[in-house]
């Protein structure tokens, strides 16, 4: 097992290096094929890691349970000292919290590579793009599987420069200044956040004397004031930049709007998850008391994010920006769920993480497809009546919108529902009335979410075709698009009708 995990960590990196070693004259097609094969292998590997037996526990309540036969908390453990002088270990493992996210990462990267077989940004240089995607994949999987705070931090940082390059080089080719600024804002804000997070980790280390997550989870840093609170605050701020939580979200719309399609997909589908994953994996178990002190404020910001994100979407005129802002709202839900510190809320947050990755990935693919066809992502320039011009893409956009607005029966619903359920009954230590207010506001937020997606559909898909004549080169859904999107669509429906597929994995958090 651990060999598989190490394999899917190392393979993309080595493959990326090998790809750079090959001369640039290798064709785009071949590079994408190579990337698809590699990421396909990673996907297979990650699926092999998927639990085959019951009895996984995300967090071990006590030591004796750890020793009990048959209930190993972590799978595929590799634990070797790395930098003894700093107390850093190379400790990777997976459990049921990280596993779905790893599979999601592998899947989205695979899909992106596959997509690049036919459809690549106009800048070209596909070889490097593929290599960077692979590096991002390795970094994200590493972050999801690291059981050491510092290793997590390192993997967290690994993705930054590749993503920065992806936005800076392959971004919107009409707006070099804008994409540069977007890329810089992204990387700088994230780096500041992660540096603050690192400070938090170091404070934890000062208190607990270890960076090891398993140990920290089993014997957390208690106390809700003073140093633990400072540590929690720093970690939360650092992760909130990544999530991104209002008001630290300002990098997101630009980054998404300017990034190439595959970049947006990975950014929204995978990278944002690092933040929420960190909150669940690190903040909640390691600093329980401090998190409880902070949780109502976190929930407040999350609620504001839900409302502000939705309101901002209502006034957007750029389809990619709109979807980006919708991410702000959705991530707000996830953070709200986490900050309830309740079973339902945490489950909801985890579920919403996956669902958001799939659905928003699909939405960004669709937005990219529309943008490629019209050479702009401005709603007013694209015009209306996509149903008439590109009926299949329009239909899929409507489908994805419905999924994203949380229609029951599609994947988006369960996460948000559980989050609201968590807010209805937060952990005992939290002020319930406050959370009830948040719940009601967040509930209204779902209405606003519906409103902006319907507005999007209305302004883009519907309308009089006579007023918006078809573009000459507009081709409806191509085969590669269908192939790459099919898994996402399938999963959206599957998770919608069978949430237990994931929910039962998590057991007691």
């Amino acid at each position: 097992m651990s060999a598989i995990l190490l394999g899917i960590l190392a393979l993309p990196i080595l493959a990326a290096l090998a790809l750079w070693a090959i001369p640039a004259s290798i064709g785009d097609r071949l590079a994408a094929m190579y990337g698809s094969v590699i990421s396909g292998l990673v996907l297979i590997g990650s699926l092999l890691l998927w639990p085959r037996s019951e009895g996984w526990f995300a967090y071990v309540p006590s030591q004796d349970q750890l020793l009990r036969e048959g209930s190993r908390p972590l799978q595929a453990v590799t634990d070797v000292p790395w930098i003894p002088a700093l107390g850093v270990r190379f400790h990777v493992a997976v459990d049921s919290i990280s596993m779905p996210l790893i599979v999601l990462t592998a899947l989205l990267t695979f899909v992106c590579c596959l997509y690049s077989l036919k459809i690549t940004p106009r800048i070209g240089r596909t070889r490097s793009l593929i290599a960077l995607l692979l590096v991002i994949e390795a970094g994200v999987i590493g972050a999801f599987s690291s059981m050491d705070l510092v290793l997590f931090f390192v993997c967290f940082e690994i993705v930054l420069i590749p993503m920065w390059l992806v936005i800076d080089i392959w971004g919107d080719d009409h707006d070099p200044v804008g994409r540069k600024r977007a890329a810089n804002t992204f990387v700088l804000m994230t780096v500041l956040g992660s540096a603050l997070m690192l400070l938090g980790f170091l404070l934890v280390y000062r208190q607990a004397g270890t960076f090891d997550l398993v140990q920290l989870t089993n014997s957390p840093v208690l106390g809700g004031h003073g140093v633990p609170l400072a540590a929690a605050l720093l970690i939360a701020v650092g992760l909130a930049v990544k999530v991104p939580l209002w008001p630290l979200h300002i990098w997101l719309p630009d980054a998404h709007a300017k990034a190439p399609t595959v970049g947006s997909v990975l950014l929204a589908g995978v990278l944002l998850k690092l933040g929420t994953y960190g909150l669940i994996r690190i903040l909640v178990p390691v600093l329980p008391d401090a998190t409880a002190t902070m949780a109502p404020y976190l929930a407040g910001f999350a609620t504001v994010a839900i409302i502000a994100g939705s309101l901002a979407c209502l006034a957007q005129t750029d389809v990619k920006r709109l979807i980006a802002y919708s991410s702000v709202g959705h991530m707000g839900f996830i953070v709200l769920g986490i900050s309830t510190l309740s079973q339902a809320g945490l489950h909801g947050a985890l579920f919403a993480n996956i669902a958001h990755g799939i659905i928003t990935g699909l939405l960004f693919f669709l937005a990219g497809a529309i943008k490629d066809r019209h050479d702009t992502s401005d709603l007013r320039t694209i015009g209306r009546a996509l149903y008439a011009r590109l009926p299949r893409i329009g239909g899929l956009l409507t489908f994805a919108s419905l999924a994203s607005l949380g229609l029951p029966g599609l994947a988006g619903f369960w996460g948000e529902m559980l989050v609201l359920l968590g807010a209805y009954r937060p952990a005992d230590s939290l002020p319930r009335t406050t959370y009830l207010v948040f719940m009601v506001i967040a509930g209204l937020g779902t209405v606003l979410t519906a409103a902006y997606f319907l507005r999007l559909v209305r302004n883009l898909c519907q309308g009089d075709p006579a007023e918006n004549p078809a573009s000459a080169f507009a081709v409806d859904l191509s085969r590669i698009e269908l192939i790459t999107w099919a898994p996402l669509i399938t999963l959206t429906v599957l998770l919608g009708v069978w949430p237990g597929l994931l929910l039962h994995q998590w057991g007691t958090l």
């Binding site: 850093v88 690994i158 420069i161 690192l198 170091l202 000062r206």
Partner: protein, 483 residues
Amino acid sequence: MTLTWTDWQAIAVPLVLAVGAVAVLLIDSFWRSASVQLRHTVVTLLTVALILFGLVFVWAQRDDFKPAFCRPAVEGPAECSLVFEPLTAGLWAVLLIGALGVVGLSAYRLLSADVPVGEYHFLLLSALVGATVLAGARDLATVVIGLEVVSLPSFAMVALRRDRRGSEGALKAFLVSVLSTAVMLFGISYLYGVTGSLYLSTIANRLSGLDPELRRVAFAAGLFVIVGFGFKIAAVPFHGWLPDTYVGAPVEVTAFLAVVSKSAGVAGLLVLVTSGVAPSGSELRTVVAILAALTMTVGNLAALRQQEAVRLLAWSSIGQVGFLLAPLAVGDAQAVVGYLAAYVVVTVGAFGAVAVVQRHRPGGLLTDYRGMVRSEPGLAGALIFFLVVLAGLPPGLAGLFTKFAAFQAVIDAHLGWLAIVMAINVMIGLAVYLRWVAELFRLPAEDPFSVDIESPAVAMISLCAATAAVLSILPSTLFSLAI
């Protein structure tokens, strides 16, 4: 006084370097029959051999503890002028590696730059003697003289091209240095007056039992000493000379200043701080912390809009010094040496890459680097790696972990405000280096830079990159340098 075997062992490296320096000078002066080319090669090889000897020696003795030039003290343990201990070994290793890198850099460009080869290597080795002595020094006389031995030869090296720019750069560095020496000596004189000793251990002992009035003077004295080092390592506000001198000097000499000279300054300051002149909790550490915060902020901010490669490296090296000062302010030798080691390796590499480009494009603008990822993938890749290490982001894990250690040291010392300033500076620093990286990736407007790179340069840069890569994968090596 009779010199014991231990004394000889302890000063073997500086001694060999000093003798070697004279040998180099003599070979170059009196072997006129040989061609310049040959003499250059021989001199370079000899220098390399000397430095390698030093490295081997340090490696062999790395765990020893050898006090040298001791005398029995009136009170307390024996007072020694020089101590070879693991910390010294680590600092010497860093200094020698840096010097080796500079020699390697000099191997492929010096001839065209009108620099007398023998003198150049002589001065370099002399400075290295000073640096090694400084890193082991345990009395203030040795410290100040060692520092001068580092400084004066390097100023001569700055002007060694004997042109307008070089002389101006040397003058600026020289004036600032002399002022700093005077200030430092003034401080030392007071320290002597207050404690009656020049030995660091004795000073440390006596400082703790001073009257309040004398303590104030001692504080001012310590401040002057630290300020003296502040000039050397170009901590803000004593940094003004640095960018001008870096730009004025030949690139190799700039690398020398940035690597050996700066490391020596840091080493001296580290010795001062750790051996008790600024004990934990003293206001002097606060001063160093303030200097650290100021230095990194100003350095990084000023680097933000630079358009010349060397000037950017100059300012960013000021920023790096700020980061070095942070663990120094809390007396964490391990973090300092680790940081220094990573910094030295990648700085040599970065200057190596700059030297290659500057040789063909003397303008030295960042825009000259456009599109190099395509036209010179190897060089560009290495340069990007060096810059990323300097920024402290993956894949430059060496830089990341040394910054991490710095953070850890600061956090452990409860200097929260400094940690926050450092965090902000990580961001600004990243912005600085990413501008350069972005140029490398950008598609060039006209012809991109592309040449046949000389094989010494290839070897040198690859070596640096390989070292940095190894340090990135096994960062623990960095921190085992000074235990």
